[in-house]
Subunit: 646 residues, 2 copies
């Protein structure tokens, strides 16, 4: 913890123009934000009402009626506002900004005089504030409002929403803490911790940072706050299915500084870890950083899917045990992979270790991208690695797995989370320190950076991940600093040229480092991206003897549209030749992987098992497409891990 934590560049200083990501960076402002605005206002005829804006109007006293929807519904508005804020930073839109200003004004009118802000408790249970930290989600909602406010303030400089959340934050600081007379609880769903850090950064008020520390350090101390709360005689149980309550569900089974494994609800977990990483950085808290590393390793080595999905159990959307990674019954929530990316990005900035960005890239290119349709108006909440639509049946153990993306959800955390992630996508590309600039993701863009009082302009050109060819022009104006270029774990033959001459530089923690005075150098980076076979640790019961295909950062899958159904009966020879074929007309232009494989021959009986039949393999031509693009054609089967002939 010698060096300061590196930081993102302001989004306004990065202009993205990337062949692979343009779809999303255009889609979000053009389609997704307007679509979601209509959903929030209950204006899409075949989507059930979300009640989001309506609830705020009722809380503001401007509409009559009953407050409806889940207790944490306000967060959908908050995350939409946050997405708008990021979007406005690189694509100004006065009409959209006016709409956002009006929503912010509405939120202000829905706020109570003492700063309290939450439509559910204000309207439905006004006497029960802070009496259900286990499941009431008041602090979770507060956190999302704070994140939106910090983003909107940074983009627009307007302080109305920031003032609103500061009043809310001040109420939290009065209400929660170690003093007698204060509430000694902490959030049932972590989120406000990382938001309080953002609020601290936006305002400089140490009290918000102090509350974030308090929440993180108090969590899991004995006696368990939630268990005590649940025993209160007048406790009102919102989610009976959580009973009997398992403190690990909310990572409160022990103090966070003692936890060795990632446990419980995956989104809760990664949001908590983000705050732990933030605090570790700000406080130079080596113990907390070490804990973050331990939890990270357990998660990504033993409890993460190849797609960057986390959360193996459909019930309670949670982590289970090491190597328990079922493909067809998992949760792998979109929001959890977003939180994983946020945590990994923080860790990369704390440690200057590129391996974190390998995981961040894995999550963004695969599960997060799979969470939204290519048209932007359909979403996955759950991201399985194997889908057999016939058995994704309501009223069964697999009811949580949907074989097609949905227009919206009763619990709709994912769609607005995707929107805020893709509108802030630029923030994942660079990390800047005092005399360091890290290039984390290979996304075509131009960026300007103040580096040692000099303005540096970076022009990054690439068709990644179609190829591993990246050109960086650094107009440094004489600034002297180290440029770090991430060497992806999958990269073969990684090499760097400076102004056409091969450079013999050094690699540091997975980054290629070039320290020099920068004037107008052109850096050429190239590495081989080709289809590769990935094997699964035999300890992963669900994948014994199976292989998956990757190409660069992308995990591939086989879809029924290309390979007919019954994909589970496919076998691949790990030594088979994998051909890559660019198809400009497919899925908006995509690289396919084609190969020869086998399929078990159909039986001549319809019996499920038999003593007389046996297994015959017949050759078959197979085509795989990127997992992030799956389910954009006719619904059907999909599979990532297929059997290998071993």
């Amino acid at each position: 913890m010698n060096k300061k934590v590196t930081a993102a560049l302001p989004l306004r200083d990065i202009q993205l123009d990337d062949r692979y990501w343009n779809r999303y960076t255009k889609l979000i402002p053009d389609v997704v934000i307007p679509y979601q605005w209509r959903v929030l206002n209950d204006r899409i005829p075949d989507v059930p009402p979300s009640y989001c804006i309506r609830n705020l109007r009722i809380a503001a006293g401007e509409e009559q009626g009953e407050r409806q929807g889940t207790v944490f519904l306000d967060t959908d508005v908050a995350k939409w506002l946050e997405a708008v804020a990021y979007s406005l930073s690189w694509r100004p839109d006065s009409v959209l900004e006016k709409t956002a200003d009006e929503v912010i004004s509405l939120i202000g009118r829905a706020q109570c005089d003492d700063g309290y802000l939450n439509t559910y408790y204000t309207l439905v249970e006004p006497d029960r504030r802070w009496q259900n930290l286990t499941a009431g989600h008041e602090l979770y909602c507060a956190g999302h409002f704070m994140e939106a406010a910090a983003a909107y303030f940074e983009t627009t400089g307007k302080s109305e929403l920031l003032d609103i959340v500061c009043r809310l934050g001040d109420l939290l600081c009065q209400t929660f803490g170690p003093e007698s007379g204060q509430n000694h609880g902490y959030p049932g769903h972590p989120e406000v911790e990382l938001a309080l850090v953002k609020l601290y950064r936006a305002t400089g008020h140490e009290r918000y940072m102090e509350l974030a520390r308090y929440f993180v350090n108090t969590r899991g101390k004995s006696p368990n706050y939630f268990i005590d709360e649940l025993a209160w005689p007048d406790y009102r149980n919102i989610y009976p299915e959580f009973q009997p309550y398992d403190p690990a569900y909310s990572q409160s089974h022990m103090p966070v500084r003692q936890q060795e494994t990632v446990e419980g609800h995956a989104v809760r977990a990664v949001y908590l870890y983000c705050a732990m990483a933030d605090i570790a950085g700000i406080d130079a808290d080596g113990e907390l950083l070490e804990r973050c590393k331990i939890l990270w390793s357990n998660m990504v080595d033993k409890r993460m899917y190849i797609t960057g999905g986390i959360g193996s159990s459909g019930f309670l959307e949670r982590f289970t045990a090491d190597y328990d990674l079922p493909n067809d019954t998992c949760y792998a929530e979109t929001c959890a992979s977003i939180g994983l990316a946020q945590f990994g990005l923080r860790m990369s900035r704390l440690t200057r270790d590129a391996s974190y960005m390998d995981v961040v890239e894995r999550a963004l290119y695969n599960t997060v991208r799979a969470g939204i349709s290519l048209e932007g108006d359909r979403y996955f909440y759950v991201n399985p690695l194997e889908v057999w639509p016939d058995i994704c049946m309501e009223h069964t153990s697999r009811a949580h797995v949907k074989p097609v993306r949905q227009k919206w959800f009763d619990v709709a955390c994912c769609p607005t989370n995707i929107a805020r992630t893709f509108t802030s996508f630029g923030s994942y590309i660079y990390s800047a320190g005092e005399d360091e600039l890290f290039v984390n993701l290979f996304v075509q863009n131009t960026a300007t950076i103040q580096m040692n009082d000099k303005q540096v302009k970076i022009n990054l050109k690439t068709d990644y991940p179609r190829s591993g060819n990246i050109s960086l022009v650094v107009e440094g104006g004489g600034a002297e600093f180290a440029l770090y270029i991430r060497i992806p774990a999958f990269a073969e033959n990684f090499c760097v040229c400076i102004d056409g001459e091969k450079d013999i530089g050094t690699a540091e923690n997975g980054y290629y480092r070039i320290y020099r005075q920068w004037n107008n150098e052109q850096i050429g980076v190239s590495f081989l991206i080709r289809p590769r076979i990935v094997y699964s640790n035999p300890l992963v019961r669900a994948n014994v003897g199976k292989v998956a295909l990757i190409r660069g950062p992308e995990v591939y899958c086989f879809e029924e549209a290309d390979n007919r159904d019954d994909l589970a009966a496919i076998y691949l020879d790990p030594n088979t030749e994998l051909m890559e074929i660019w198809d400009d007309s497919l899925l908006g232009g995509t690289m396919c992987i084609c190969c020869q494989g086998y399929r078990l021959s159909p039986w001549s009986t319809d019996k499920a098992f038999d003593i007389v039949q046996s297994y015959q393999k017949q050759p078959v031509s197979l085509t795989a497409i990127p997992y992030g693009s799956w389910n954009n054609r006719s619904p059907g089967e999909m599979i990532v891990w297929v059997h290998s002939t071993i």
Copy 2:
């Protein structure tokens, strides 16, 4: 439907003395019935109170307190009484009979004046009788009392319980039916239908038969009774997790005579099908018989595990879709396999087709036997085909799968169901018609049968399934009839000798038929029983490329105790030599299957997936034991279907 339906022999006329089954036939009266009696009376310190007898006492006004436990708790007492009745028929026990008489007397005192009998509704919701057919289980409870009464009357000739249930049955006949003023509903959990048939057979009263027909034929008609009931403004929801209610859950999604596939809760389904088969036989209703055959085929060909387990979804304990047979998340409830055996036995008696008994035998020797420990005091409710104890975690999608047998359950339908099944085990062996006697199961016994006014004595000797050698001595006293000996589907080299001479008889529907005058012939039956590889239809996604081992009626499994852990990484060459080794000291004496196989070598990294590692197979010696005997040593992993080297 030309011939009359064949019938069971009275249990009292069969004396079992079978090396394989003696354990259970001794265990049930010696251990299980006394153990369960103590549980019913809340007398086992480390088993939470069942409240069963206590509830009856409270209903009888003989104890103060609050009625506790599930709504259908009375059935545990009823099934225990039914087990006692069967046990007394072949093992008289005056002390046990006195206890049973006292329980019966208590039941009588708990009965309302109008015949109503149900401790839950009598004590907790007296004003809500018959207002929750969806989930209240009143008719289900009534059915189990009727089954117990019919059994106790047949064994003891005592009519007290029969009188009680006739008063109850008469109340049902008044209450339910097509007339105006009658309730037009039917049971949310089928069971009373088959029980009413038993009551009809015990009493000869046609009204009970008529009500059984009414319930079966009304089920699933439009508009759906349960959907209507759930919409009643004062409906009290006992099981919120069933909402929104899926009529297929209770097989009420369409009239039973239109159903093509087995749907919904597996126990509900097979109990319903039993009644359909009963009615088909009594009424010579060919349409209903045809429907039973269609449902049977769908179930056993496409929705049944090799172990005779049914119910693929843990949530709602239900059927899902064809070929959806996950090994580690299934339900495969013990009660469901008992109901499957009951249905198959009825079908075999209706059709004289031995293939039904292949399935009955599969269920009894495997899942039902697995449902109880060799010591008799631990039970499985859920019977998975693959267990990894680490992930059988509470608060996850796999919480229903227990890695070890339990002492009792909050919903404890299975333990007493096993008790009544094994005490009535003799009834599965023979089926008798006018001039026909069918030998269905190869269990050592002596039996006496009235055949054309002559007393026939059968002495069946065998060590089956250790071998396929069966000796039958038929002391027929000159009676002329056809003896049918089942030819198991797995039997190789099936041959029959009569008095030492090879017989060239005929096979009919899977039975070997010998028609003659019987005096004192000795029939020698022999067929080869050897370990065999079973393949899985490639349509079963969970088992692609996997094989299982069987030997005769027994499915085998690999346990951690013999093969160390990580059993999922095992591979078998389908051509490997399978050796059978009798181990007298293991699990009370058992045949093991030993073979050479492979195991994927452990990786040198703990990462869940990797591009550098690959798959190496190392040879390993493997030992399999019968699935019915699993989990009787130290807890650990178990697997039925293992990968094959193909």
